[in-house]
């Protein structure tokens, strides 16, 4: 009996190995730079259809949203889209419903770069009925059902990297010759933008050495806000503003909150500073005011994400920092704490993915599709919990 089981196990393992080899062989496709994704139409009728229920203004969908990740999660009139850290694009009809890999290639295992859903690690954006994504120095687009991939334009010649994201029909970016933000070798102090849906060339919209120490930038109508590192200071960043109309450049404060802890809208800057609390700055007067003092016994690191309904403060409690233990605190816009819940399902790097309609979306790992959601109708009921997104 044992012998038979052993033989069966061996056969199963050999079959597994052969399958792995075949899978690896199928990975041998062209690099994204040279890829030519299949334009096969997605046959699932429910994917990428316009949902006319409770549509928001177009600018809501095209604008960049806050997150722990940058340009990975999109709410669109056609449903929600998530690009995992492994580079695969997923679609969910309502954000809290099953995330489907956007690939209709027959027998595809969705585990290699020749999968139709593989678009690489760069950001995605929505504009005028298309999903846009960037691969190296090229802007590409696809239909909302994941079909009809096209290269739209090349930003520049050569192999230099860039960092940027899509916002209201443009791709805003900086060129990072050293390979990424903060890299040694970066020497291009321009901020560029390019329209995504025409044949225009990129334009420089700002030149300033602050760009070389930038952590992140935010576009708010005709203003550009840049947060920049202060050497040997991980508590504060400097906040600068630039008006594309008046061309005026100004340092607003050198005590602002950093990436994933700030938001700017309509002449007000909002931020959270670790173990100090919530602050607001009047962009015109540069006056900064503490709105709510907040100190955790275990300082950790916090994200502050500002959305229409609530402000989400996520406290990562582990020292040294990791994503494993995090508590979500939910505040109203008057900084009253409404509710809180622990998220203890992370392995590796994971957590908050996005906010869509009545749901807050989380994942246990950014490498995979979103897996959990909070139903906002449960906030403040005493019964707040994470629900599993079922397949």
């Amino acid at each position: 009996m044992i012998k038979k089981i052993s033989i069966l196990l061996i056969i199963a393992l050999i079959a597994g190995c052969l399958a792995s080899c075949l899978m690896l062989a199928s990975c041998n496709k062209s690099s994204p730079l040279e890829s030519d994704p299949s334009n096969t139409k997605n046959e699932s009728s429910s994917i990428g259809n316009l949902n006319t229920d409770s549509l928001k203004p177009e600018s809501y969908y095209t604008s960049s949203k806050q997150g722990i990740t940058i340009g990975k999660y999109l709410e669109t009139p056609y449903g929600t889209y998530y690009c995992s850290f492994l580079g695969y694009l997923y679609y969910s009809e309502k954000g809290n419903t099953d995330y489907i890999t956007l690939c209709n290639k027959p027998d595809c295992t969705h585990s290699s770069k020749d999968c139709n859903a593989y678009i690489g690690t760069a950001p995605i954006g929505y504009y005028n009925g298309k999903i846009y994504y960037e691969v190296w120095n090229n802007i590409n687009c696809m239909d909302m059902d994941g079909s009809n991939h096209k290269r739209i334009k090349t930003l520049y010649d050569g192999y230099d990297n860039n960092f940027g994201y899509f916002h209201n029909g443009y791709f805003y970016y900086v060129i990072t010759k050293g390979g990424c933000l903060g890299a040694i070798g970066n020497d291009d102090n321009n901020l560029y933008r390019v329209k995504v849906d025409d044949d225009s060339k990129p334009e420089i919209i700002l030149t300033n050495d602050v760009i070389l120490k930038m952590s992140l930038f935010t576009i708010d109508e005709d203003n550009i806000y840049i947060i920049a590192n202060i050497p040997d200071n991980s508590k504060f960043v400097s906040l600068y503003s630039y008006s594309t109309i008046s061309k005026s450049w100004s340092e607003l404060t050198d005590a602002f909150g950093g990436p994933s802890a700030y938001y700017i809208n309509d002449d007000t800057g909002y931020c959270y500073i670790n173990n100090k609390g919530f602050y607001e700055i009047d962009i015109d007067t540069k006056k900064m005011k503490q709105m709510k003092a907040l100190e955790f016994e275990n300082e950790g690191i916090c994200s502050a994400l500002y959305y229409l309904d609530y402000i989400y403060l996520i406290h990562y409690t582990n020292e040294p920092f990791n994503f494993l233990n995090q508590i979500l605190y939910i505040y109203d816009w008057d900084y009253n704490l409404i509710d809180s819940v622990e998220f203890d399902k992370v392995y590796g790097t994971g957590g908050f993915v996005g906010d869509v309609d009545g749901y807050i979306i989380f994942t246990s790992n950014f490498d995979v599709k979103p897996e959990y959601y909070i139903d906002k109708s449960e906030i403040g009921t005493g019964n707040l919990m994470f629900h599993k997104i079922e397949d």
Partner: protein, 127 residues
């Protein structure tokens, strides 16, 4: 009979080890791999530290070779995770790519892909 059991069991364990190795990402700060492609030797050398990523490849054949780094990085004191991808200029014989990040930033993970022509011949994740 006992000998057959032992043989089967040994084979089973070996296969389990091999299979595990093929599916679990390498958790190390460096990696070296060598093999042949179209009858020519090639080797791939990868290293990772919190401020330094390096991928190098040598190939004895005539085809162009390349290295891709897909990596995540963060800024000290904040939770934003940045993702990026870097590709070298294709070369024959030897190609290498190094990414170094300043103080205040750190890499959390890098996935290296090594290409001969357009084919990925080896890939490894380090963190």
């Amino acid at each position: 009979m006992k000998l057959n059991y032992k043989k089967s069991l040994s084979l089973l364990i070996m296969l389990l080890i091999l299979l595990s190795y093929s599916i679990i990402p390498v958790s190390a700060s460096s990696d070296y791999y060598e093999s042949t492609y179209n009858g020519y030797n090639y080797n791939c050398s990868s290293s990772f530290s919190s401020n330094y990523l390096s991928g190098e490849m040598s190939y004895a054949g005539p085809s162009k070779i390349n290295v891709i780094q897909d990596f995540n990085y963060m800024q000290s004191g904040y939770s934003t995770v940045y993702t990026d991808s870097r590709i070298a200029f294709p070369q024959t014989s030897f190609v290498g790519i190094v990414t170094t990040i300043n103080t205040g930033w750190y890499f959390t993970h890098c996935y290296y892909s090594y290409l001969i022509g357009v084919n990925t011949v080896y890939s490894v994740g380090l963190f």
